[in-house]
Every structure is written in C-alpha cells, then in structure tokens.
Symmetry: C3
Subunit: 359 residues, 3 copies
C-alpha cells in the first residue's frame, strides 16, 4: 500500500474540488482515522456521529462536508465529502501498476487467449479456450475454467474459481476464494434417491460488478444466472441457480438468494437476509438485516423481519413483541375482571368458541 | 457444455419413455428455457406456475406432464416429467469424458495411490498414503491430505480440500472450495485462556453424496463426522464436529449444524436453518428457511421459526405477529372499557398481580 | 493421526494429575468415544448427559470428574476433567513434527523472509517482503501476500489467503480456505453508480487466535481490523472492515460482524448471530444463536433474539410468541363479552381511538 511523498492542502483542494479553511502550503503525507492521525496526516469527518472524535483528533488537516462544524485544524470542505474521500484515498494510495505477463509457474492451456497486457500469477490455471482480456489481473492460484471469459481491467484475487463457460464483464473485481459457476442445487427424488438435474447453464457477470471473498454464485440449470452492471456483493453471499440480480444493487455479507429469484435494480439487502425461490424483489427495495423474504416485494418497499413486513410495521412489531409476556398477563387480568363483572350482573360467561379463525 | 447434433422427437419419445403429441420426425438441437427457446429447441413445462410462459414460448417442442394442458408445439408427455427432464438434459449435455492421467504439474507424494484411470489436474496435491480410486477426477488446485481416500467415480472440483484421513465414498461430488475435515471448534477455558481440545477424529462421506461450493465439514473430536449415502448439501453449509447426517437428506445453502447434532434419514432443511448442538432431528423432518432448531424434533414433523414450532402453528404465529401492535391497542381499549364498567357498578379495579406466570 | 503404543493407567494418573480408582498397571492404547471404545481403550464422561452411555460402555477405563458416579471400569478422576481430556488426547495424538524446509514447487518471491525452521508446502506462494517466522507451517496452496507477516509457531492450512500487509501473531492457526485481508465492503453512491472507497488499511491478528475454514476477515478502510489475543473463530464467519474483536472471545460458525463494530473481551456469540455496523458489544456479553444485535450491549449482558433482548426476557417472549394465535382469539372473546356487558348496562361502546401509541 504505497504512499506518495505528500501533497499540500492547496493541491488537495484543487484535486478534490474542495474549499480550504486554512493554510494552502501545509503538507500532509497520509490519510489516517481520527483517533490515530498525527499532525502530518489528514483525517476526515463524514459521519456526524464522529464529531466529538474529530474535535479531539490530532490530525494536521481534515476533509469534511461543506456545512460541517468548525474543526481544530485546516479543513477541506466538499459538497460530496464521501466522493472526495475516495479521491483523497486514491491520491495517497494509487492502485499498484499491473506487471503484465504470465508467471512462469502458471498453467495456461493450449487454446487459451491471454492478452499481452494481462498479468497471471503463480500457479494460476487458465484452461482451454478461456479468454483473459486486456489489463486483467489473475492472481496466484486462481482458476479460469475452459471457455470462461474475463473482460478487460478485471481482477481475480488469489484462488478465485470460474467454472467453465462463466463470463465476466469489464472492471469486475472478485475477491479471494469466490466460486462462480458451481453446479446449482437441483435434484429430483425418484422414489429411492435424489437424482441430479444436470446444471448445464452458465453465469454472466456484467461490467463493474464486485464480488466478495468466498461468495458463491451458481450456474443456471439452463440459460444464465445474471448479476447486473454495477452491483456489489459482499463476502459469503450465496446466489442460487437461475437468479437474476439487477443493476447497481447491494448484497451485504451472508445474504442468501434461492434459485430463480429475481432482484430488480438498486435493491439493497442487508446482512444475512434470505430470499425464497422464485420470488421477485422490485427495483429499489431495501431490506433490513436477517429478514426472510418469502414472497414478492413491490418496487420501492422497505422491509424487515421474518417473514418480511413493511419496515415501519416490522419495527412496531419488534417493539410490541418484547411486551408479549406482559400482554398475556394483562389478558388474564382482563378475563378475571370480566368474570367478576359478569358474576355481578348474573350473566353466564360464554363458552369458548372453537376454530382457529384469528380475528 | 457440448451438444449433440440433434434428436428427432420420435427418438426422444423412446429415450424418455414419453408419449408424443405431434410429428415424430421433427428435429430439435438443444434444450432451452421457455422464454429463450427458439423453433429448433425443446423446452419444458414442469412447474405449473409457468403455464402462461409456456403458451407464449417460441419453442419447437415441449416436455410436459401427462396431464399438462395443450401447448403450442409438439409435446412429449411423461408420467414423471422431472425425471424425463434429467434424461433429456443428459442426452443433450453428456458428461465430458474424463481424460485419465496426472497433469505434469500436479504434486503426488510418494506412497499415494492414484488409480490409472483417474484424472488429476494442474497443481493438485495428493499427499502421502492418500488413495484416489478408479475414474476419480481431482481438478486443478485440489488438495487430498495424507491418508485420505476418494472412492471411485468421485469428483473433486478445483480447490477442494480434504484434510488428512478423510474418507469419501463412491460417486461423491464436491464443488469448488469446500473444506472437509478441518479441525472442529472445541475449546475448554482453563481460567486464563481457551485451550484447544485436540480434534483427532475424522470425516466419512458415504456414496452418492454431493457437497456444495465453500461448504465446511469438520472432523470429529474423536470418532467420525458422518454424512449418509445420497445426501445433498448446498453451498456455504457448516457441519460441526461429530455431527451425523442420515441418508438421502437435503441441506440447503447456509444451513449450520452445531457439534454432535444428529439428523435422521430424508431430512430437509431449507436455507439458513440452524440446529443447536447435541440436538436430534428425526427421519423425514422438514424445516422451513431460517428456522432455529434448539431442541429435538420427532420423525416426520414439519417445523418453522425461531425457536422452531410445528409448521402450521408457526404460520399462524407469523400471521398473528404482524397484528401485535393492533393487539396491544385493542388490549388498552378493553382495559378502558373494563374500568368504565367497573366504575358504573361501583367495583374497584383489581390490584395488578405480581409474578411472571404467563397464563 | 499417529498413536503411541500405550500408557498404563498409573502413567496417565501422573500425567493428568488425576486420582485412579482401579489397577495402575492396566494398559490402554487409545482414546475412543463411549459408544465405540473397546477394552483396550480409555473413554471419558465429562458431560453428565452421557452418564447412561458411560455405564453401558465397553471401555477399559474412563476419565471423569472427581465427583462423577461409579463407572464400570477403572476411572481416572480429575478436578478439571476437560483440561485433563486435552492432556489425554495430546498424549495419544502428539502433534506431528513439522518437517522444516520449502517444498521445491513452492513459489517464494525474492525479498520474502522464510525462517529456516519453517515449513512451506507444495504450490504455496510467499510474495515479496513477506515474513514467515520460526517453526511456522504454511501448508500446500496457501498464499501469503506481499509484506504480510506470520508470527512464530503459526499454522496456515491449505489454501489460506493472507492479502498483502496482513499481520498474524504467534501460534495463530488458520484453517483451510480462510481469507484474511480482502477489501472491505465500502462504496459511496455518486448518483449513477456505487464507487469503491479504497480499502487501504490492514488486518492484525494477535497471538493464539484460531480462525475457521472459509472464514473471511476484511482489511480496514484505514487503520486496522483487529482480532484480539486468544480469540477463537469458527467456520464461515464474516468480519467486516474496521471491526475490533477483544481478547479471548468466541465466535461460532456463520456469525457476521458488520463494519466498525467493536466486541469486548470474553464475548461469546453463538452460531449465525449478526451484529450491526458501529455497534459496541461489551466485555463478557453472551449471545444466543441467530440473534440480531442491532444496538449496543452492555458488558456482562446475555442476549437472544432479533432484535436482541436480555436472554431471560427473550425466552419468555419465545414462549409467549407461540401463544399469539390463542391470544388473538381470547382478545376477540373478551371484546364480545365487553359488548354484551355494555349492552346490558346501556353503555355505548367507545369509538376506536386513532394513532399508533402502543401503550
């Protein structure tokens, strides 16, 4: 993680299109968190929860929002401070250049096409008829199956596996250990045993998708499992066969998508959410963590809980649930009071009604 | 994913033991999903939810159930259409032949026995005293530990790890990244630190088991962790030490089985279910997704929820839970009405009773 | 898993600091579970649930607690029987000696420092400027990124990945397939797409930590993700960027820790628990399985459920939840009785009150 020698705050103001409160000739040599930054470093205040930590910070400069409160050192103020932070981090930590070429220990099969500008690490395996595009980086011990294709500027971290025929777009980043294109989980019980339904489809990952460590995305039974452009997938996520995930969606760690479910564009599923098979989740749906989405969710809805309910409703249920033991006691007390009143008026208590109708 | 040149519908009717509505000389060259199939392809209608999609399909032929409605192209009708689909897919996508032999880059230790008909891929590692049976396929970068055994016709996809001593039966399929035989999670706190309990047992996987990508199955503390014949395990499943899973069970993605739990035969656990340690789950138990099974479940039961309840009961709880905020309001209203009635009759409201007895 | 030729019970009594009920010259040649142990083997009774199995066991000797009931064979009695079991298992299954040296197929980059007493397996990759300490064992196909450091006596099982710059302390054990230091899940939406926030921090794993198979621990955005000394982490656990886990904590399988959450010392999270981002979990907190910890938890608390509640309260909620359908029926009956009483007294039923106040 190399660092440049440093930048003046004036240079940074220009690069980040920020206004500067303070001395433009001051030099900072790195970016650091509020609690560990020293006088030579710039830190940042983006999440207001950290305002007190910022005021107590020893940082030599800050990046903050245009309307952030005053801070104890020169401050770069940006209209979109999170975007400015990305630029700031990139200035200090430019991506390492890709050394092109195939490591002598890599195994590239005859018929595989590896662009001359691509980089292939030690013990990587590129099988027959696979295509590795320009400036792609295939790290050590990664596996690109027969006929698989990796679009330009993509990165496969160590030990990624692409099964045969899997297609990755451009600028796709796959973290270590992810497995793309394993056989989907499809069986039919024949009376004696579960017979495998051949999984002969494939997986298509569109441009600018990122996939987390040890995540698994299964190939389709027929056709394709698809992850749309710009979608970001965290670690240990499971995506079943024939799933479609729309563009620019976010799947947080340990989410599980069952076979044939369809997610729209801009969907956000928090950690450990599960989606049942064949369910459709509309554009822009947001789900809270650990939700269980067992039925279709209309575009734009926010949901929570198992089974998932509209989020505001689910939050009221969460609050009410904690009061359940109390509620049962109150019910019992009310029944006693009813009995006393009925006795007073000489009315017989009604027979309990049978049936399950939960009115 | 090679395809044969094509089959006539007459040939397919014979092969699938299906009856044919339509022209037996018509040729189809592939199988495709309803929405993408063209006039040269055969599609299928097995799940009735797709009947409308089938009627709108451009497929040149269909495979369907004996009693399926009329479809817009020649139709093969089978009594067991899902089994027929397996045969159909296998006809068009026959498994690739295994090229026998050890890749020159593989590392096979002295004392390992690799059958001459087995195939070992690039950078695969077979340690001392391991045994790889007839027609086994060990893909690239897989690891077979010392003394491990892989039964005939099994497949280890890239990067599978078998720890030392693990034993796999025949026709076992392990998808990429699965880890079988890692040390179980056993510690004893000695007052200052968690001391590791040596995990010196092993894992036995019986015939015809399939194991998903990045799934983990731990070795026993002593004795064996066992997965019974014909059981199918999806991706990212965790199986703790000393677990026994019976024959022909189904564990869907992200299921977690705690140490020493015992599952019977024909158990089905849907996605993200957790089972507590030392719990016994009887034969044929079915659990809905995300359930938390904290106690024993009798054979044949269907359960759902955390903690798991009988499924019909759990579904009523799910429905009722959504009405909890309403119920609290109704309780408050009832209490006001009681107070008014008691006032009317000159009865003092009772003191609230203490205690926790939730009658 | 080699075994010594055997020990007399007298030798074992000395080694385990146990008292012996029975013949000290009797020899046992192995340790086995109660149900499979034979007359030449010693078994153990630590969990009282297995007392009946112990009485029925054919074991030639037992290890048990000082106050355990009488058993059908000579018995070693220890004040801390679980610690004694660790010693017993270690006597019969001493750790295999580490054969020092770098396997000829391993790829050690120039500038990497590998201690002469370390062992590096086939196809392992040690990148530039990495440091591998004394007696470390890097198993086959593992990857140690540029500048990463592995402290003495640590073990990386096959296929572990350490991203560049990751630092492991001494005696750290990482099971197969774990990925340490992948890029954290940080994006900022710029109105058109999710832009990656560069993840330029690192991961620090302190001494005596153990990490399970296929677990993922992400690098910090800036600064460090930290796992404290002596903490044990099971399989398939996700630890997000900038998380801090205190010393001597226990994270059971499939736990997920969101970004920037902080766990104290001695925390125990059971399987499939999720912790939300930026949450603080105090020292000694214990959480039941599948809990969803969405807010801070004070030191020493025991919690359960989603959202997590104090454990005793949560258990009452669990019991009460099962009675919800019944409760709704009782409410309806109470309302009917109220209506009848009001009719009797000529009182109009009150208008339902609006609003959401769930009193």
């Amino acid at each position: 993680m190399g660092k440049a020698a440093g930048f003046t705050l004036g240079e940074l103001a220009v690069a980040l299109r920020a206004t500067l409160d303070g001395d433009p000739s001051r030099v900072v040599t790195g970016v650091a968190p509020l609690d560990s930054a020293g006088p030579d470093q710039i830190s940042f205040l983006i999440d207001r929860r950290y305002a007190a930590a910022a005021r107590a910070s020893r940082a030599g400069a800050f990046l903050a929002a245009s309307d952030a409160p005053g801070l104890p050192a020169p401050t770069l103020r940006a209209a979109a401070p999170q975007q400015a932070l990305i630029d700031l981090l990139t200035l200090f930590h430019p991506p390492a250049p890709v050394p092109p070429g195939v490591h002598p220990t890599a195994a590239v099969a005859g018929g595989a096409r590896v662009d001359a500008s691509a980089s292939v690490g030690p013990f990587a395996v590129i099988e027959a008829d696979a295509a590795v595009g320009a400036r792609v980086r295939v790290h050590a011990l990664a596996y690109v199956g027969a006929g698989a294709a990796v679009g330009e500027d993509s990165v496969l971290y160590p030990r990624v596996v692409l099964y045969p025929g899997v297609r990755l777009g451009r600028r796709v980043v796959v973290q270590a250990g992810a497995v793309i294109g394993a056989e989907g989980f499809g069986y039919a019980f024949d009376g004696a045993a579960h017979r495998k339904i051949p999984q002969v489809g494939s997986v298509r990952i569109e441009d600018d998708v990122e996939i987390g460590a040890n995540t698994t995305i299964d190939r389709a039974t027929l056709g394709e499992t698809v992850v749309g452009r710009g979608t970001k997938i965290d670690n240990l996520v499971q995506i079943g066969h024939n799933v479609t995930v729309g563009e620019h969606s976010i799947l947080v760690a340990q989410v599980g998508l069952s076979g044939s479910c369809r997610l729209g564009r801009g969907v956000v599923l928090a950690g450990q959410v599960g989606v049942a098979d064949h369910v459709t989740v509309g554009d822009g749906v947001v789900s809270g963590a650990q939700a269980g989405i067992a039925g279709d969710v209309a575009a734009g809805e926010k949901v929570l809980g198992t089974p998932a309910l509209p989020m505001a409703h689910a939050r009221r249920v969460w609050v009410a649930k904690a009061r359940l033991p109390e509620l049962i006691r109150r019910m019992r007390a009310a029944e006693r009071r009813l009995q006393r009143l009925e006795g007073q008026l000489g009315i017989a208590a009604p027979e309990p009604r049978g049936g399950d109708e939960d009115e």
